[in-house]
Symmetry: C2
Subunit: 194 residues, 2 copies
Amino acid sequence: MNFLEEKIQADGVIKPGNILKVDGFLNHQIDIGIMRQIADEIKQRFCGVKVDRILTIEASGIAIATLVGDLYHVPVVFAKKSVTANSTDEKYVAKAYSFTHKSENQVLVSKPYIKAGENVLIVDDFLAEGEAAHALIDIVRQAGGKVAGIAVCIEKGQQNGGKMLREEGYRLESIAIVDSMDWESQTIRFRAKN
Amino acid sequence: MNFLEEKIQADGVIKPGNILKVDGFLNHQIDIGIMRQIADEIKQRFCGVKVDRILTIEASGIAIATLVGDLYHVPVVFAKKSVTANSTDEKYVAKAYSFTHKSENQVLVSKPYIKAGENVLIVDDFLAEGEAAHALIDIVRQAGGKVAGIAVCIEKGQQNGGKMLREEGYRLESIAIVDSMDWESQTIRFRAKN
């Protein structure tokens, strides 16, 4: 097991309905040491890949995106899920279905903040059905940018997002891939050789 | 002018209605170099103050809170504005009126993520009327913690938040305080000796 798999095993909580609760270190309370290690690992896995910009989505992608951006010394942009009152810039808009909230949401990025020709690394905390990742890919394409790759902290391997993105030819790096979870025994199986 | 005042002067846009648009470097696109400088400055201003935890509020506080937490090597918690489907922990709940959206919102933190006796540094990107800061203070108190201080990137000095917090005895450090803005001439006056 790598450091993140060990952390998930130690501090993650499996809940009924195939839910993995990791808000003690990833997406409510943030364990900066682990997040820094994840950022280092992402940069290492994308060694040799040109990255001009980091793109994530609010809110829980922002912490890891910030630390990755700090390593690359490139701008970080977080896509918004609603129109901000103070912004009158034209927006790139994509749609993402939320399986958690059972509704279709807009994903927005102000046009000045992605430029044509840029190599954009998409970063997020979780990958499940891949709705957010596909919305961000759509926005990069609308802007005339290139998707340098997709990096996520935890991929839920039983859901379709990772499989789809790999089949579509994207370079996807998930620092931990959870292939199955058992609520009763509180055990997690990770994908080997990840 | 300090580095942030210079950045605001160079890249901020004043819009009608006393609105300062800084989403090119602070709260949509993030200029990591400037954010890192802000984090360093915050730590320097709170030199000698014990900090066990950083508390912010989603979404645009997360980037600066992450970088400050990285300097202190302490956990970062971001308060949420809505109940998360996957969390069944009991919550500390406070109320904050949003002047932007003209509605009262809940601010929530899961109880395990602030502990009694901890010294909590509240960090945010903006301070205007102080509604978010007061909600976070309320949550720290509910948890039996102590407010080590409040650090914000930009304080809108014409609004009441900063004045109230200082009168209440909190140590507030705002890296830039905008005392007035003029839309027609696009000029900004910063509070001197900040």
